[in-house]
Each structure stands twice: as C-alpha cells, then as structure tokens.
Symmetry: C2
Subunit: 339 residues, 2 copies
DNA sequence: TCCAACAATGTAATCGATTACATTTAGTGT
DNA sequence: ACACTAAATGTAATCGATTACATTGTTGGA
C-alpha cells in the first residue's frame, strides 16, 4: 500500500506538495499538480484515511441513534439521513438503543472520544437538560422529537395540529363519540397528539369522555388490547383516533373481533402512513409524515452545524398531510364526502 | 482532553505502562496498575480512538451494505447484526445501495482504504467472481444470499426446501392448480424459490402450468398487478405461492378486487413472516425466516474472520418454518386440517 | 537591472497511542 | 550469597498525513 511519501518521491516533490494537491489544489502550479496526479495514478495511491482522520481530528462519520431499527418509521428516517449523508461525504454509524436510556448515555462517550463528528437522535428519551448539555459540546440534531424549550435543532411535524386535523376530520363526518388510544405519556410526542385530539373536541363543543381515552404505546398489541377492552364495556365510541398506524390496525382488528364493521360501525384514523396503510383492509386514513424528508432535513441541519454555519431556527416542522382512505368512512365508492 | 502522557506523568510511570494497563493488564504489577487506574480516573482520561485506530490499522467498525433499509426484512437482519456487533465492541456503518451496482463497487474502496475492518453484504448483486475476489482480500460475509459455488461464508435459509414446503402444503390441501408469482429471475434466491415450487408440483405428479407462473419482483405492486392480470384470464389458479409477504398481500387484494374470497376461492402462502403477516386479514400463512438470527449469525461469522479463526463451513443455512395462519385455508375455526 | 511582494515549494514538527527493544527489578535454585 | 532467569518497566521509534514556518522562485514596477 503506497503512501504519500512514495508519491512524493516518484513525482520528485515533497509530501507537503502532494498533500496540497489533494486538499488544496489551487495552491499548486499546474505543472507540478500534473506530475503529482500522474504519480498518484501510477502507484494507485489511496490516502490512508485513518491517518488523515487522526491528524485532522475528524471522522466524516455521524452517529444515528435509533430506538428500534425494525420499526419502519425509523428505518425510513434513517434512509433519508443516509442518503443526504453519503451525498456529502459522510458515513452513517447506526446504533440501536432498544429504548434503553443507558445506551443513549453511552453514545455520548462516542462523541467525547471523537469517534464521530456529530449525532442525530431519533426520538431520544433523555431529558431536555441532558440533551442541552450534550448539544452545547457537540453537534447534534434531533428527529421526530419536539422540545418544550427548544434550544437544539430538531425536525418534526406539528403533532398537535396534525392530530387536531385527524380528530376534526372524524368530527366533521358526524361523530360525537370519538375515542383515542394514546402513546406512552412520558413522551412529549404522545402528549402533543393527545393535546391535538382534545383541542379538536373542545373546539367543536364536544365533551371529552375519559372512558373513551385509553393509554397504549404505539404498538399493534396495545391498540388491539385497549380496543378489545373498550368494546367490552357498554360505553363505546363510533370513531377512534390512533397515534400510529400499527395501533389503528390493532383497533380495527379488535373491532372485527367484536363483529363491528369498519368504517360503518367504527371509523378509524391512524398516524404515520406506513407502507401497509394502503394495503390494509380497509385502507387506512392516516396522517402522513414526510419521514424520508425528515431524515434528509436532519442531516442537512447537522451538516450546517458541522460546517460551523449558524442555524437560525431550532424548530423545523415539516408539513404533514391527512390521507383519506377507507377506514374513516369519508370515501364511499371512491367518492369523498367532504374535505 | 488529557492524553496518555498526562496519565503517565500523574501516575509516575511511562506511557508504555499506561498503554499496557489498558490493553494488556496482566503484564503490569497490581500496585502499578492501581496507580495508573487512579490517575486515569482522576483525569477522566479517555483514549483517543482515532490515534489508536491509526496506529493499529483497525477501526472496530464493520460495513453493512443494504439494498434498501426501508424494507423490514433487511432492517431486521441489520438489527441482528448491530446487536451482535455492539456486544463485541464493533460499530456498524450502514450503507444503502439502493440496488445500484456501482454502490456495491464503491464499498470495496472503503475496505481498501481500511476504513472498516470487514463487511456484511445483504443480498449482493455483484457476480460471484467479483465477490470471491473481494473475499480473498478482505473479511466479508454474505447474508440472505446463496451462492452457486460457495467459497465465501454466507447465511441464508434453504430457499428450495422452504418453497417446496410451502407449495407442498397447498397441494396437500387438495389444490391442483397452484400458481406462483416469482421474484426477479436474475436473483438466485428467486430462482431457488421457483425451483422449490416446481419440484413440489413435480413430486406430487402435477404438471406445471406456465400460464399460472408469472414474473414479479417481490413488491406489493408486482403481486397485485400480476394477479389482477392472471385473474383476468379464464384460466385461474385455486392457490398461489408468493415469494414474499408483500406480494402475497398484493395477490390477496387483487383476489378481493375480483370478488374472490381468500382462502375459500384462492389460497395464498407468502414468505418472510413480516410483522404485518399476522395483522393482515386474512392473516398470512407464510415461511418464517429467522431474520434477526441470520443477522446475528452473519456477524458471528465475520467476527471469526476478523479474529483470524478459520470457518469450516461456508454455507450456513438456518432453519425456516412454515407458519400456518388463515390465508391458506388449512385452519378452520382455529382448527388445523393437516400438518 | 534590481528589489519588493507574492507565489510555490520544501523542511520538519506534530497528532497520541502502540510496541520493539533496552534496561531495571524481583525471584529462584544451589 | 551469587548467578541466572523471568517479570516489570522504560525509552524511543513508529504509524502517515497535515501544516506552521522556512526557503526558494517568479513577477512587475521603478
């Protein structure tokens, strides 16, 4: 494996000049440059990246922390990040936290040791104080995370307004008893989606019936179980808003177990617009998050930080969209009733 | 940021000793070791990994090449790889090839430049000669890939026997007209699944009706379209084997479009046992691949290579399983008809 | 023609951990 | 107590690219 000094010798110049040809070509005369490039070509020289990274204290690598890579929502964001990263000469280190707090802490070590230049955290669980602390020392960006007091750049959608929109849609279809199964309430994201739901009911003069609000945790299972339980009572909703598509599917399957037709007997709106939302039966009305774009944007922001550019805003809310399909009952034989 | 020489000074020893305490503690007297550890603690010293990696020409990082991270099948394998890697002090670099051959070639550069210690390729598209060439120079392992002439360790399931099993299951349920929509035929994996299907029909004395065999490419869309087309003909199967669950769902939806009931009018068996297989309606009978385990195993094999251990076998076929649910008609009211 | 000013190139120190080799210390057997 | 081996520690070179600073070359203007 030839090194820079070999190239220098062959080209009859110093290593400094070779280095300049590589990293700052304008500082070298054309003739010299050609000699060097020719030597590089002849020897098939590749710079030793480990040496470069060591010397420059940079890695051209970023860390992406994912709660669970198997979740398509995260996988899609990671896809966006990776695309934008590799387009800009950065590599992506993937780390699964399995939602364990200690693994999030562990990643800080990685930054401290300069093993990566920056980090993007998807749905971090660390508290804001800790996150701010990290952010003051290292370039980080958050994705799918909202902050109470935003000091760190983050990319998200407006979870309150999107949930409002979803709930409103059900209300405008004539539903008075709109239920909601929440995500885990220690997550601000879940609280926001809950807030949007409540706001919509309030704005339309509907009382919030706490019996129709259950706590879940985004999963199919929690949607199914909570809905089974709710339908076991004699007090039952005619529509439900779920903060994830998986949950919505669980809810629909629970309804089917109870011989209810969806959307006729129970209208359902989900969240995320995962790939299967359109394949399911009935196809899911849902809020589409621009996941891939969110990933790209997160990386763009991180790149700015890495290049020392200032980021004016911290909140980066991308537009979401209510996608109307069959699970809400707004479409009859391909025709839309409203919206 | 304190460095090793700072620790050495504080502990009153040489850097060599500090280095030994860190990497080869048995070579240092207990007393000295304690002094050094105390100094490390006092200074909150963290070794500079970039320096270490440079000096040792190793990165403790492996590259994982994925055709498409958004595909849950790959995401799950990556999950297994990541788990096993981080357990062993390795980090995982993720690279999406987007099924582009040039990106697979690009990854070889990464290896050449010693930016990673090894690589795991998921469903590589490179030809075997090229793969062998890479493998002779660098530690690599393949996952979800079968090889015609196996010289490189790879982890897979036996795609022929699993497809045989799936098809046989349909035949034993009484079906004579069993169709198949294939994956892309430039992939050995697809050809193997096709082979298993044909073998089963042959073994049970059924002729292969080429009108019932269509070419697709694993996707929902291709399943839907091919099935729509097939059902448009007057020559129609009573059962279909699909080489992916996504495709199976597409097939079922196409059947529904044609007012066919599944499994009564058309029995369907899928492949992969993705998360949604059990949530779909009807729930999918499918071949379960141990994806997470396949990821783990791939990493285990790579670790062996990285540690210079010899790997006796190249073929590592993990057990798959036929999961019987509702889409094949073998279960009636919770009871199994056979198997 | 000569010198100032700048461009181009070279010299050598540097990044921080590792490790071959040298030296010192401890331990063993007679 | 002595010689000798083994254990413990130290010294200093090394990995390869980068870059501050030094030196040489070039150009334009008087």
């Amino acid at each position: 494996m030839p090194k820079m000094s070999d190239v220098a010798r062959l080209a009859g110049v110093s290593t400094a000049t070779v280095s300049r040809v590589l990293r700052n070509p304008d500082a070298v005369k054309t003739g010299t440059k050609e000699k060097v490039l020719e030597a590089i070509h002849q020897l098939n020289y590749q710079p030793n990246m480990l040496a470069r990274h060591f010397r420059r204290t940079e890695t051209k690598t970023i860390l992406v922390l994912v709660p669970n890579i198997i979740n398509t929502v995260f996988a899609e964001i990671v896809g966006g990040i990776e695309e934008q990263a590799s387009k800009n000469g950065y590599r992506v280190l993937l780390r699964n936290t399995a939602r364990k707090l200690e693994r999030e802490y562990g990643s800080i070590e990685h930054l401290k040791q300069r093993q990566v230049d920056g980090m993007i955290m998807l749905s971090p669980q660390l508290d804001e104080a800790t996150l701010n602390e990290i952010s003051s020392q290292f370039p980080i960006v958050l994705a799918t995370a909202n902050l109470e007091t935003p000091k760190i750049p983050f990319v998200s959608i407006d979870n309150v307004s999107s949930s409002y929109k979803a709930t409103e849609h059900l209300i405008r279809l004539g539903h008075k008893k709109v239920g909601h199964i929440t995500g885990p309430m220690d997550s601000l994201l879940s609280r926001h989606r809950n807030e949007g739901y409540r706001k919509a009911l309030g704005d339309y003069g509907l009382d919030i019936d706490e019996q129709l609000v259950r706590r879940g945790h985004f999963s199919y299972e929690s949607g199914f179980e909570q809905m089974m339980d709710m339908l076991g009572q004699n007090h039952v909703p005619t529509a439900v808003f779920a903060p994830s598509d998986e949950m919505a599917i669980g809810i629909i399957n629970a309804a089917k177990e109870h011989q209810l037709r969806v959307p006729e007997d129970l209208a359902v709106v989900g969240f995320d617009n995962i790939r299967f939302a359109s394949m399911f039966n009935p196809s899911l009305t849902t809020i589409a998050q621009p996941l891939f774009k969110m990933g790209q944007r997160s990386m763009e922001l991180l790149l700015k930080k890495l290049n020392g550019e200032s980021i004016s805003q911290t909140e980066h809310l991308l537009p979401d969209e209510l996608i109307i399909r069959d699970s809400c009952g707004a479409r009859k034989k391909g025709k839309l009733l409203h919206n």
